[in-house]
């Protein structure tokens, strides 16, 4: 059996036609990450990806969704059948979340966004519909195009539709906070916290699972500090710093301004932006070859550069 061509879907075919094959084009979501990796070059034509949830198969733990769908709409649909996915809801779209590649605050619980993208369907620089990956959780059939599309800021192809892995929503989820706890000790005390956050003074943890397990973990945290249940996480400063988890032990408030760090992850939400880091030369050269092979004329999202974030 040959897989049915993507072009047989009129919605995908229309998107491919709109993207075309010649001029500079950028895909516009909700603009929540519009400046990440640089601004789109002036004069670039804007397109929007198709919207809608194609199918949610809870028993297969997958959802097929158009890229222009708001993440909030996807989350609400999944929740109706007791599931969630790894996409963070910043008010943006599914395609935008995947193009940006940022993880959810509860990444330790819901998994990384990169690992959750099972199949991508995108429009190439030549205006062709391309499928990479497959609809099953386990799949090693050929080169891993979904991986290279995640976090690429739409510079290798314009995502039209994806199949994502879904997971059951935890039976219980609660936030607790302490002002006298070592956040690193809190993390080590817990089996699978969904998040451990720290602002230099307060430590927040998110515990999820069966209710008796959550209660037991909260009791265990008593050895680390006086934790009390709170409504939710603290407000997060706007800038994202990507650090190694070990670097969180040596944060400098002068550099960051106010911050909320994700312990065990290395992500820091800070008031000031992270200085841009240059890719090492060999990685930059390899990245340039990827870009020129996928988009020889540089027409896809010109001005955006995933290496300059």
């Amino acid at each position: 059996m040959t897989a049915p061509p993507l072009a047989a879907d009129p919605v995908l075919a229309a998107f491919a036609e709109e993207v075309g094959a010649t001029d500079a084009v950028a895909v516009e979501g909700a603009r929540t990450r519009w400046a990440v990796g640089g601004a789109v070059a002036d004069g670039t034509r804007l397109v929007k990806a198709p919207t809608g949830i194609v199918r949610h198969e809870a028993e297969e733990m997958i959802v097929c969704v158009r890229a222009g769908t708001p993440v909030a709409e996807l989350a609400a649909t999944l929740a109706q059948r007791g599931q969630r996915c790894a996409l963070p809801d910043h008010g943006g779209t599914v395609g935008g979340a995947i193009a940006a590649g940022e993880n959810d605050l509860l990444v330790l619980g819901c998994g990384t966004l990169r690992a959750s993208v099972l199949e991508v369907r995108y429009v190439s620089a030549e205006g062709r519909l391309i499928r990479g990956g497959g609809p099953t959780v386990k799949n090693v059939t050929g080169f891993d195009l979904p991986r290279i599309m995640v976090g690429a800021l739409g510079t290798l192809g314009l995502i039209a539709e994806v199949i994502l892995r879904t997971n059951p929503l935890p039976a219980t989820s609660l936030w607790a906070m302490a002002t006298d706890a070592d956040p690193f000790a809190a993390r080590d005390a817990l089996l699978r916290p969904a998040a451990v956050l720290w602002d230099g003074t307060h430590t927040w943890v998110n515990l999820e699972g069966h209710a008796p397990d959550v209660t037991a973990q909260l009791a265990l945290l008593g050895t680390v500090g006086r934790f009390a249940e709170v409504q939710g996480p603290p407000p997060l400063p706007a800038c994202r710093w990507s650090l190694a988890p070990g670097e969180l032990r040596h944060l400098h408030a002068q550099q960051l301004g106010g911050f909320v760090a994700s312990v065990g992850v290395g992500l820091v939400h800070a008031e000031r932006p992270q200085p841009s880091r240059a890719l090492p030369p060999t990685v930059a050269a390899l990245s340039a070859r990827v870009k020129s092979n996928f988009d020889p004329t540089g027409r896809l999202n010109p001005g955006r550069n995933p290496g300059a974030r």
Partner: protein, 488 residues
């Protein structure tokens, strides 16, 4: 004068071998006919490889020197771990330089904050877990070959294993890789930081089957070992009931650490030698494991047992202790070895289907095997929908190998017709190249090749693998030919 045995041999490739020796030392290069013959195969049924000189580098610099030397001589390079691959990914085509990473087997630094351990590619999967166990951690991907397979091989194949159901496949457990690229440059792909900038070249490299370069240092995520584990053994009068139980468990919102099914033939073979107490009269047994905290695992284990009974389980047994649990797993993980009691040869397939189609596709495997006069046994990662039909045969029987290939092809097509994929964890190698066009269009394969070409523009890294002829830079027919002046 004492006569010295030359491990470099006196055969072909004299200039190449001399340069390799000069680059990494005499004791790290072999060119004798025994070594070359040994490394022309892997654990698959394919035996038409031709190995060139064999190198055993001890460092990243050695690997780099080997790649650059091979490049100067216009020769391709094929990396190799333990050779347990089942799709022919490590088979050398066209007499390339074979790079065995088995001597790079050190466990390096551990970073507790990042929960990462740096290892060399030759570290054996189970050795890593044994090293981590006293610290309360393990490496989650656990292929059945974990006693011998290496981390480098796991990275190349994006390997799976029973416990990938809850914990994810190898790609989710590798966060950085130092790689010698096919042009000899060294690059660090990915990193320990939360969200490394740039394209996810790390993610693309994992599962590249040695066609994107050679991993020389690997940052592997380590997973805290859960304090509580419950392992259930359920018996069913029909294979279909076991498959339906798997779907029903997932539909109920439970993601067990593992869910494995064995049919009656394989269960009998396993029980004959591990004596784990597997029921030999059941049509199928389902091994389900949940791990976590004490209360939660009991809640989930009870729910799974209830679902099993509703789906017709004739017996539901909870492993009493760790000893019984380990025995049950030993049986499952050595299942393929047990079939030697029944037939001298086997062909192990690897496809994935949607869980809801498991029962139908399983029924088709029995029908297909019977039609071709073969015995099929099924032992598989049911929770992932990852089928492993084993076709048993005796290669001395005239014409049987051809029948096995035809039957295998029909099983693959049945899986794809059910909406599945070609491989869940073994990879494409040379085994499934021809089937790639059943799943992907020319445009799809062209884009896969663009990714490959970005890493290996000159087609010097494990050529002739993964992509079918005509969709890749290498002409596979040319590679199988023996080079001029070659002896084998």
């Amino acid at each position: 004068m004492k006569r010295r045995f030359s491990r470099q041999g006196a055969g072909p490739d004299v200039a190449l071998v001399a340069d390799l020796v000069a680059a990494i030392g005499r004791d790290r290069v072999r060119n004798d006919s025994a070594e070359r013959a040994l490394l022309r195969r892997d654990a698959s049924v394919f035996d038409d490889g031709v190995a060139g000189p064999v190198c055993f580098p001890g460092s990243t610099a050695d690997v780099q020197a080997v790649v650059r030397t091979a490049l100067r001589h216009g020769r391709a390079v094929v990396p190799r771990g333990a050779g347990t691959g089942l799709a022919g990914g490590a088979i050398p085509l066209g007499a390339p330089v074979v790079v065995s990473l088995t001597r790079m087997n050190r466990i390096l630094d551990m970073d507790n904050d990042a929960r990462v351990v740096w290892v060399e590619p030759g570290v054996v999967n189970l050795d890593l877990t044994k090293h981590l166990q006293p610290l309360g951690f393990h490496f989650a991907p656990d292929p059945s070959s974990q006693q011998v397979c290496t981390l480098g091989g796991n990275v190349a194949n994006n390997s799976g294993g029973p416990h990938c159901l809850a914990y994810g496949i190898t790609n989710a457990h590798i966060i950085a890789i130092e790689v010698v690229l096919p042009d000899g440059e060294v690059a660090l792909l990915g990193g320990l930081e939360a969200e490394p900038p740039g394209y996810d070249l790390r993610g693309a490299f994992v599962g590249g089957e040695g066609t994107l370069g050679i991993a020389t240092r690997i940052a592997a995520r380590i997973t805290p070992t859960a304090p509580a584990v419950r392992t259930l053994l359920m018996s069913f009068a029909e294979v279909r009931h076991a498959a339906n139980t798997v779907s029903a468990v997932i539909a109920a919102g439970i993601v067990p650490a593992a869910m494995e099914v064995m049919d009656q033939r394989i269960t009998q073979a396993v029980e004959n030698y591990v004596h784990a107490g597997y029921p030999t009269d059941a049509a199928a047994v389902l091994l389900a494991e949940v791990d976590g905290l004490a209360d939660g695992v009991d809640i989930d284990a009870q729910a799974i047992a209830q679902i099993g009974r509703e789906q017709g389980a004739t017996e539901v047994r909870l492993a009493r202790d760790d000893t019984e649990r380990m025995l049950l797993w030993t049986g499952r993980k050595t299942a393929v070895g047990a079939i030697a009691q029944i037939a001298p040869d086997y062909y192990l397939h690897d496809t994935v289907v949607p869980r809801a189609k498991l029962a139908d596709v399983l029924a088709q495997t029995y029908e297909i095997a019977e039609r071709h006069g073969l015995i099929v046994m099924n032992v598989f990662h049911a929770g992932d929908g990852n089928l492993h039909p084993l076709l048993l045969f005796d290669a001395r029987e005239p014409g049987v190998v051809e029948r096995v290939h035809v039957a295998g092809g029909e099983i693959v097509k049945a899986s794809l017709d059910a909406g599945g994929v070609l491989s869940g964890e073994h990879g494409i190698g040379v085994e499934k190249q021809a089937y790639m066009t059943l799943l992907f269009t020319d445009d799809d394969l062209d884009h896969q090749n663009r990714l490959r070409k970005s890493f290996d523009p000159d087609c010097k890294a494990n050529p002739g693998k993964v992509l079918p002829s005509g969709h890749s830079c290498a002409d596979i027919q040319m590679l199988t030919a023996v080079p001029k002046g070659m002896w084998v």
